[in-house]
């Protein structure tokens, strides 16, 4: 065991920190061009797609370097990269499963944000059970024709291209009839509608396909092998999430600490109250444990070990932590926590996760209900942990009863 950062890591972090201090845009970015410019600036600094193989424009960066960059971005409250989905998921899929022509056509433009990407997987009736998706891709000779609806598409309004899962064979068990496509979002058959969330924000979209078109050359892998491709763990963007999430919560917790010194309770400051300190202490304790676990994951990644289903443990921990943490925030702040506008400035909330200023505590609280649902609900994570980590037998389930052959 040695949990010290190496001198190289420390020096790298210092350089990265300096860069973000010097370059992070002040104030909110309002236009897409500004956001693309910021993406390119980070790319030129070597911070975008840094885990990609060098031959495709990446830097073969170690997980630790990626973790440090993510962490410093968070610390600087820097706006996120506008083509984050492109560099973290779409590009890597093309690198692993795409053909040479697809690599030539798309990868460069992903890295420099010439083309913005989105992901078209979930459907209104296919969430946790993604494989039951119904969007159809029909073979029309020279192209596929897409009809159906997707949901929870982040960045849908600005995307030029998307990765799409669609059904190409309805006669086989559900996992076997799905194909993986690249689809041009700039076409008449596609309508994108922003999807408002309970926070009031609209980071996601619904996407409707009416006879939309995918060229045959934009099929990824083989026909009907889309499920397998979508399930592949793509290994180029590692280390992210191990440190920066803790840093984000730590920044929020420090702001909360500040609020407890201003908020009055029982004739003194709220911080002087034993119950308030228990909550702060609990929030800090559980966050430190998240940090330790993050270091443990990072140390495995550094050895080249793949993050297996154990990543479900991290997902479960941080998403459930986020819910608990924000309930403590609301308990501590009392009625001030509920106020979106009109509270004194000392009770205004934490930095927005994607940079560009503060949000209200109430919005942050509402947002905390999302992570236990998206990217695999807590229930799904527990199934994964139970079956793939602990080796428990699979539950008896109706779809398994109906099609044993899957």
């Amino acid at each position: 065991m040695d949990l010290n950062f190496t001198p190289e890591d420390i020096a790298f972090r210092a350089r990265v920190r300096k860069w973000f201090e010097d370059n992070t845009p002040r104030g909110e970015m309002r236009t897409l061009d500004e956001r693309k410019a910021w993406h390119r600036k980070m790319y030129e600094a070597g911070f975008i797609g840094m885990g990609w193989p060098a031959e495709y424009g990446g830097k073969n960066a170690r997980p630790m370097e990626q973790a440090i960059v993510s962490d410093e971005m968070t610390r600087a409250n820097a706006p996120s990269a506008v083509n984050g989905l492109g560099t973290s998921i779409c590009g890597p899929t093309i690198i692993v499963h795409g053909n040479e022509q697809q690599k030539q056509r798309f990868l460069k433009k992903i890295l420099n944000a010439d083309e913005i990407w989105c992901q078209l997987f979930s459907e209104p009736n296919a969430g946790s059970d993604l494989a039951s998706l119904k969007t159809r891709a029909e073979d029309k000779g020279d192209h596929y024709e897409i009809n159906g609806q997707k949901v929870w598409t982040s960045g849908g309004t600005i995307a030029d291209w998307g990765i799409l899962l669609a059904r190409t064979d309805t006669t086989v068990p559900k996992h076997q009839g799905i194909s993986f496509f690249l689809i041009n979002m700039r076409q008449p058959g596609i309508e994108v509608r922003p999807l408002k969330q309970i926070t009031g924000g609209s980071e996601f979209c619904e996407v409707f396909f009416t006879n939309a078109r995918v060229e045959k050359e934009n099929l990824i892998g083989k026909l009907n092998q889309g499920w397998m491709i979508a399930q592949t763990t793509l290994g180029y963007e590692r280390g992210s999430g191990t440190l920066n999430r803790v840093t984000a919560y730590m920044m929020s917790l420090r702001r909360l600490l500040g609020a407890t010194r201003k908020l009055k309770k029982n004739g003194g400051a709220a911080f002087d109250d034993l119950l308030v300190r228990q909550k702060l202490g609990r929030a800090f304790v559980e966050l430190e444990v998240m940090r330790y676990s993050g270091l443990r994951t990072l140390s495995r990644l550094e050895k080249g070990l793949r993050p297996g289903p154990e990543s479900s443990i991290a997902k479960l921990y941080y998403s459930e932590y986020g819910k608990r943490y924000h309930e403590w925030v609301m308990e501590i702040l009392g009625p001030y926590g509920n106020v979106l506008e009109g509270a004194p400035p000392e009770f205004s909330g934490p930095d927005r996760i994607d940079g560009g200023g503060q949000t209200a505590w109430g919005v942050s609280f509402l947002g905390s209900r999302g992570p236990t649902i998206y990217a695999g609900t807590s229930e799904i994570q527990k199934n994964i942990i139970g079956e793939r980590v602990l080796g428990l037998p699979k539950e008896v389930r109706m779809d398994r009863m109906q099609s044993k052959g899957e």
């Binding site: 979930s122 009031g200 979106l340 009109g342 509270a343 109906q402």
Partner: protein, 379 residues
């Protein structure tokens, strides 16, 4: 021993549910999000016509003369319907205080006005600190000019923007005992020196304001109850507010649970109904336990108020502490059971989640009432 509603009470609940489900649809509720007063005057007048605005007022003040049990079931229905408007503020808070301590002409004027829907009243309690004890009252009222001059600030004043008159506890003299020296004033909401600025809440159906009082003149006839001896009135109103808030949260929780059960019966994943998954089934079972226990807590507490039972104050604390926690769990788990759709604005579920959250800290949070319960235990 009968824990069930009487026929009359059940009829009142049914008529409230019928009316609200027809008129107070979530479509209507959403139109009130951006409305500065946050309620519909025509609907208010209809409710006056149904007698609900004077539900608990004496018949001589145009009220129905009913009690806390009836008010609780009305508020449960309002929680269930996410009813937007100053009902709680006007009828329970301000109305409750005036009923308890007002003189004959004040009752006639204000209770009558509230009951007819012509007067919207509210009550300002909290100031800088979220403190529900007498220590929290610092707003200064200085005798002078045939009345009093008020200076200070109230926060979280419900529906101040809609109100005609505000019941304001203020400090008329300083004492070692902070419970002494508090008097209650009826202040014209649009009067000179009164400035309101909105405090937008995550529950967009519950409007509130910060209200500043700059040398506000209040005539002597607008003092409610005895000078320096108003705190016991506030305490009684806060007890009833704790029960009423619990009833609202119960309404939100039961509705959230019912929607979740329906969803679990209908929604399919992996070839079966969501409700067939043990994880979901057990969550829903826990929700039912929370909701049914909350029902017991709310109506016991309401009955105890009406019966002036020796444990009435304790029961109010029990209800607020228990239902606050329970409704939080139930409304939160409802989102989890619904998954993605429960996180969307257009789906209604979040309305109840936010309504329950709004009432959690109001009139004392669960910790505050647990502390009161512990002290009651120690005797």
């Amino acid at each position: 021993m009968d824990f069930d509603f009487t026929q009359e009470q059940a009829a009142l609940r049914d008529s409230a549910r019928d009316y609200l489900s027809q008129k107070c649809t979530t479509q209507f509720v959403r139109t009130m999000f951006e409305d500065p007063t946050g309620f519909s005057k025509p609907m208010w007048k209809e409710m006056a016509g149904l007698g609900w605005l004077g539900l608990t007022f004496p018949e001589e003040n145009d009220g129905l003369g009913l009690g806390m049990v009836e008010l609780a079931l009305m508020l449960e229905e309002m929680g269930r319907a996410v009813f937007p408007g100053p009902y709680f503020a006007s009828v329970l808070l301000a109305g409750g205080a005036i009923k308890a301590a007002g003189d004959k002409s004040q009752k006639q004027k204000y209770l009558g006005g509230i009951a007819s829907g012509d007067v919207i009243a509210t009550m300002g309690m909290l100031e800088d600190a979220p403190n529900w004890d007498a220590e929290g009252i610092a707003l200064n009222a200085q005798a002078g000019g045939g009345g009093f001059v008020l200076n200070g600030m109230k926060r979280f004043v419900p529906f101040a923007q809609a109100a005609d008159v505000m019941l304001i506890p203020a400090r008329t003299s300083k004492n070692a005992d902070p419970g002494k020296g508090i008097s209650l004033f009826l202040v014209e909401a649009k009067g000179k020196g009164v400035e309101s600025s909105p405090m937008k809440n995550i529950d967009l159906t519950n409007k509130a304001s910060e209200v500043r009082f700059n040398n506000v003149m209040v005539p002597e006839e607008n003092v409610v109850g005895e000078i320096d001896n108003g705190w016991h009135v506030v305490q009684k109103v806060l007890q009833q507010a704790a029960v009423g808030a619990s009833a609202e949260m119960l309404g939100a929780a039961r509705k959230s649970m019912e929607m979740s059960v329906e969803y679990a019966k209908m929604r399919e994943a992996f070839g079966q109904k969501l409700g067939q998954f043990q994880a979901i089934k057990h969550k829903l079972a826990d929700m039912l336990v929370d909701v049914e226990s909350s029902h017991s807590a709310v109506y016991y507490a309401a009955w105890a108020q009406d019966a002036q039972s020796a444990d009435a104050a304790l029961a109010a604390s029990v209800a607020k502490a228990y239902v606050g926690d329970a409704a939080r769990k139930v409304c939160g788990e409802a989102i989890q059971v619904h998954g993605g759709i429960g996180f969307t604005w257009d789906f209604d579920l979040h309305l109840w989640f936010k309504r329950a959250k709004f009432y959690e800290p109001m009139f004392g949070d669960a910790e505050y009432h647990r502390e009161l319960a512990a002290r009651a235990l120690a005797g």
